[in-house]
């Protein structure tokens, strides 16, 4: 088995080609592997944990493939990037199908509440939240933004498509915020882990920059 630089965790839910193509684009020469093998996830230098579809199905498939342990271990010990449902699954619980998550972080995954979905002019806002929204680089603990925001303007737009968002109990892990129409957490960071609600692999230059920052990240 050749050395795996970046493992993209595949548990059979949706399209991972976009993620692997974007990683290959920002990390030429690196061995990017889309894998459902726990040993490959365990041996990889860094791990990307994407996700699409419904969280209960994602959790079920992850466990069915024996990947739960390898993903949790990677999330604690090596550069780790969660994307979309890959962020949501890190929490205790989701309102979506009353699902139990991986429990790495305390908090809930909530649906955009129908009663809130009007803009400042009183017009209806659609769910899913689909399209390009601004991301504000929250940095409550340090005065510096996280290194994964390097060379990305505060307020840059990223591409989203989701109906649920995470609500961490511990606000110190919040590393990015967006508004729809209320403020919600779109990025969290802790030690070697970074996870985002938007899709960097579909967010043009801002997204490619974030992936490039991840690929070159050496968390202390």
């Amino acid at each position: 088995m050749s050395k795996v630089d970046i493992a993209v965790v595949d548990y059979g839910m949706g399209n991972l080609r976009s993620v692997s193509k974007a990683l290959e684009h920002v990390a030429p020469g690196k061995n990017v592997v889309v894998t459902s093998r726990p040993d490959e996830v365990a041996s990889a230098e860094r791990v990307v944990f994407p996700g699409q579809g419904a969280m209960p199905d994602c959790i079920r498939e992850l466990i069915a493939r024996g990947l739960r342990g390898a993903v949790l271990d990677a999330a604690k010990h090596k550069p780790f990037l969660g994307i979309c449902i890959g962020l949501q699954m890190l929490f205790d619980h989701s309102e979506e199908g009353d699902a139990t998550g991986l429990g790495l972080f305390k908090g809930n995954v909530k649906r955009f509440a129908a009663a809130d979905m009007v803009d400042s002019l009183g017009k209806k806002l659609k769910v899913p939240h689909m399209g390009w929204n601004q991301v504000y680089q929250s940095h409550q603990v340090n005065s510096q933004p996280h290194v994964l925001w390097q060379n990305i303007a505060d307020g840059a737009r990223f591409y989203y498509v989701h109906s649920y968002y995470v609500q961490p109990d511990d606000e110190s892990i919040i590393s990015g915020l967006s508004h729809y129409p209320k403020r919600f957490t779109c990025a969290i960071a802790k030690d070697n882990l970074f996870a985002v609600q938007f899709h960097p692999e579909k967010s043009a230059n801002a997204g490619l920059q974030l992936l490039s920052n991840f690929v070159n990240w050496s968390p202390s």
């Binding site: 949706g14 399209g131 498509v161 129409p181 997204g207």
Partner: protein, 255 residues
């Protein structure tokens, strides 16, 4: 500030080339799909839609190789439609690099397929395309057509939109056949009726001739995204010009 309204250039593809027709007929060549996709990405397009426009009527296969090539070079969302008949077609397109798949004729012939695809891959990647035409001989205003606009269905477009969302469509692409290629503007009453009836985003399509039409599509038609082909393909306007114009008229866009 919040969610931006999207501008989506549409690439109608047949036999490996981008073409543009008038009222779905009289096709004109507009160039190579990969080159055009890259150009629009550079100009700041928010998303790209590829429609294999003769797939259903001519029983032609999918445009997988084009999507594969575009997906390795362009990192914005890609929607692909045309000739999507079964759940397995959705998988093939997603594996080739599509982010969303647009279903039109098959949704009418077999609505269960929309539900199956949404359950399997998630609503976020299932777009239902509705081709609608104003009719006089029905108890409703707009009727759904299939097979590239060749077959009437007897379905009310607004009710149909609601039904498709109930089955799991995550977005609707609403094309006015009366307006397509005419350059007289979107059918805003049609788009508004559908947008107000459903929770999911709608993409307005058919009839854009100038930049004010894009503004009207959002403000009057309630569109979450606006789709256009010919004004961009033939260099009349760039995506950037379109965004500047929309921003000047109070519409939030990604610059």
């Amino acid at each position: 500030m919040g969610l931006a309204k999207r501008i989506i250039p549409c690439l109608d593809v047949t036999a490996g080339r981008v073409v543009k027709g008038v009222n779905f007929l009289e096709l004109r060549d507009a160039g190579d799909p990969v080159e055009i996709a890259k150009r629009y990405d550079d100009q700041g397009a928010d998303e790209l839609t590829f429609l294999d426009i003769t797939a259903s009527s001519d029983n032609r296969g999918l445009i997988l190789h084009i999507i594969e090539e575009v997906a390795s070079q362009v990192f914005i969302p890609l929607t692909v439609g045309g000739g999507v008949r079964e759940v397995e077609d959705v998988r093939r397109l997603l594996n080739a690099g599509a982010d969303k798949v647009s279903i039109n004729t098959t949704a009418v012939l077999n609505p269960q397929m929309v539900q199956d695809a949404a359950t399997k891959f998630g609503s976020q990647c299932i777009v239902v395309a509705i081709d609608a035409k104003k009719v006089e001989n029905q108890p409703f205003e707009w009727e759904v057509f299939t097979h590239g606009g060749r077959k009437a269905t007897g379905l009310d477009a607004v009710k149909w939109a609601e039904y498709m969302v109930s089955l799991g469509a995550g977005e609707l692409l609403v094309t006015s056949m009366d307006r397509d290629g005419t350059k007289i503007g979107f059918n805003n009453p049609l788009n508004r009726a559908i947008s107000d009836a459903v929770e999911v985003p709608i993409i307005a399509s058919g009839g854009v001739g100038n930049l004010q039409h894009l503004v009207d599509g959002v403000k009057e038609g309630g569109a979450d995204a606006v789709l256009a082909a010919s004004i961009f393909h033939y260099g009349e306007y760039t995506i950037k010009q379109a965004k500047e114009y929309m921003a000047k008229h109070g519409i939030e866009v990604r610059s």
